[in-house]
Amino acid sequence: MSQRGEVEHLNDIVAKYPEVPRLIILKTDVQRRGVFYTDASLSVLDEKKHSITGTHIFGTRDGKIAPRPESLLLRDGTSIITTPTAIEDNPYVLDLLDGQPFLFDGGEPIEEVDYWPAPAFYGKLTRSGILMQKIVSARPQRLVINPHRYCTFWKNGNGCTFCDIVAQIKKGKKDLQVQSRPKAEEIAEIVAEALKEPGRYSAVFLTSGSVINGTEPFDEEIDIYIEVFQELGKLFRTKKFPSQIIGTAYSEAQLERLYRQTGLMSYTADIEVLNEDLFNIHCPGKAEWIGYKEWKRRLVKAVDIFGRGFVNTGLVAGIELTSPHGFKTEDEALKKTLEEAEDLASQGVSTVYIVWSPRPDTVIGNQKNASLDYYIRLAKGLHELRVTYKLPIMFDDYRHCGNHPDTDLSRLLPF
C-alpha cells in the first residue's frame, strides 16, 4: 500500500466509525504500526522535562535500547504508549512542525503530540545511591513498580509467545542497570519522594513476572506483593489506597490474603487471549499451572473479594489471528472474543485490550498484528459490554494506564 494510502486508511476508518473519536482511532493506529522518531523530534527531548524510556518491562520493535520518549500525549489527555519502530516497517513518523512534536504519515501532518512530562523524582538517588527511576517509573497519573522482573514460566521454556520479558531483563541489567528485585523499603522511599509532587499521581501500580514457587503455587509471588504493599501502606493515612496489580490468577485464599493484608484496591490477571486452544498455545506456562477455565473462574471469584468494577483481565489483541493456529478471519475472531468477554462481564469482570506489538525477541515477533478496523470494532465491543453491564473501569483507564483504546472510550461512561 502506498504511503498516501496509509493516510487515507486512517481517514477511511474515521469516516466508517463516526461515533468513535478520531483521536482514539489515531492512537490505536499508532500503537498498531509503531512510531519512528526523527533526529529533530529527539532533539527536543529533554530528560529534565520529559519521561524517557528506561525501565520498561518489555522491549521495543526496533530492538534497540536508546533514549526515546516514554510515551506520547494527545491533546485530549490520551496517552499513546507506543514502541519505537524501524522506518522500513512503515510506522508513523514523529517529527517537528514549527518546533512542536507532530505525528506524520506519508509526509502528511496528522496530529500534534506532547511527550510525557518527567516526574519530579526522576534524576534523584535513593539512600543507597540508585537512580530512583531505575526502580519506580511513572505514567501521567500513575506510579509503576516492578517488584520482581523475572517470569518463572520461562524456566522450562513455557513463556508466552508474544512476551520478551526475560530477554528485556537481560538487556536491562547490562544496558540500563535496572534492578530485577528491588528492596521493598527502597521502593517505599521512592514513592514517598514521588508523592511530594502535588497532583501528579492518583494510583500505584505493581506488576511482575509470575513466580510459581511456594507451598501453593504463586504463594511467593503473593508474598512479594504483600511485602511491598505493606511498606507502601505506611505512607498513607487510609487503609486502602488507589492501587492495582497485574498478577497471575490467584486462588481465593491467595486473593483474600492479598486483599486483607494490604491496601490494594483492584486486581488484574491477564488471560491474554479469550480462547482456550489459543491460550494453551500462546501461554503454555499459564496453561500448565492454572489452565484457561480455572483462570476465568478465579477472575470471577476475585469480584467477590475486590468488588464489581475493581477486577479485570487483559488481552494482547491480535495474537488470536496469528498463524497457523489462530482464527482465520477477523470477523470470527471478534465474535468469539466478544462472546467470551460478555461471559466475564456478566459476572462482573471487565475485559480490556492492548494492541499487540510484534517484537523481535518473541516467538511470534515475525507476524503482523490485526487491521485498524478490527481494533476499533474490538474497542467498541468491549466498551459496549461495560455500558451494558454497568462496569466502571476507572482503575485501568486513560489516566491510570493509558494503554487500552477501549477504556479510553470509558471516559464518557456516566458511572
Binding site: R75, P117, P198
Partner: protein, 154 residues
C-alpha cells in the same frame, strides 16, 4: 491564534465579581450549565476552565466537544450588567505536567483539601454582546415594531 478580544472581556475576567458560566450539551442534546469560578484567559488567548471533578457531566461534555469538534458556551456577566456570550471549542485537556501542577496548587490554596481533574483550554470562536442596555438600543433602532406604544406616548 484564537479570536482577538475586546478589552471588555479581559476586564470582566479580571473582576472577581463577574459571574462565569460554562454551558455544554449533553449526549441527548439537552443543555447543561455550571459556574466556573476559576475561569480566565491564558496568555495565548484561550479560556481556561478548571474542572475539579473527573466524573462531572461538564467534564464528559467538554471531552465530547473536543472529540467531535463541537462548541461550548461561556457566559460572563459583570456587576454593572455588561454581559457577553462566547462560543468556543475545547481544544486541549491537560491532566499532567507543569501547567496542571500549577493549577492544582492554586485550587488547593483557594479551596483547601480539594482536587483537580482537568485543565481545559477552550478556543473562542465567536463573541456575542448580550448586554441588555446595548442590545435594547440596537433592537429599537433596527426593529421599531418591537417597541410597545405606551412607551412612545406623549
Amino acid at each position: 491564534m484564537p479570536l482577538t478580544f475586546q478589552p471588555i472581556i479581559r476586564e470582566l475576567l479580571d473582576d472577581t465579581g463577574t459571574s462565569r458560566i460554562v454551558a455544554t450539551t449533553n449526549e441527548d442534546g439537552s443543555p447543561y450549565a455550571v459556574t466556573s469560578p476559576f475561569l480566565h484567559l491564558n496568555h495565548d488567548g484561550f479560556f481556561v476552565h478548571l474542572e475539579l471533578l473527573e466524573t462531572s457531566i461538564t467534564n464528559r461534555n467538554l471531552l465530547r466537544n473536543l472529540w467531535f469538534d463541537r462548541k461550548a458556551a461561556i457566559h460572563l456577566t459583570g456587576k454593572d450588567g455588561r454581559s457577553f456570550l462566547v462560543k468556543g471549542v475545547p481544544v486541549k485537556a491537560i491532566i499532567s505536567g507543569p501547567v496542571f501542577s500549577e493549577y492544582y496548587n492554586k485550587v488547593q490554596q483557594a479551596l483547601g483539601d480539594s482536587d483537580l481533574s482537568t485543565v481545559w483550554l477552550i478556543k473562542p470562536v465567536e463573541i456575542i454582546n448580550e448586554t441588555y442596555s446595548e442590545r435594547k438600543i440596537e433592537e429599537e433602532s433596527q426593529y421599531p415594531f418591537s417597541v410597545h406604544l405606551d412607551r412612545l406616548v406623549n
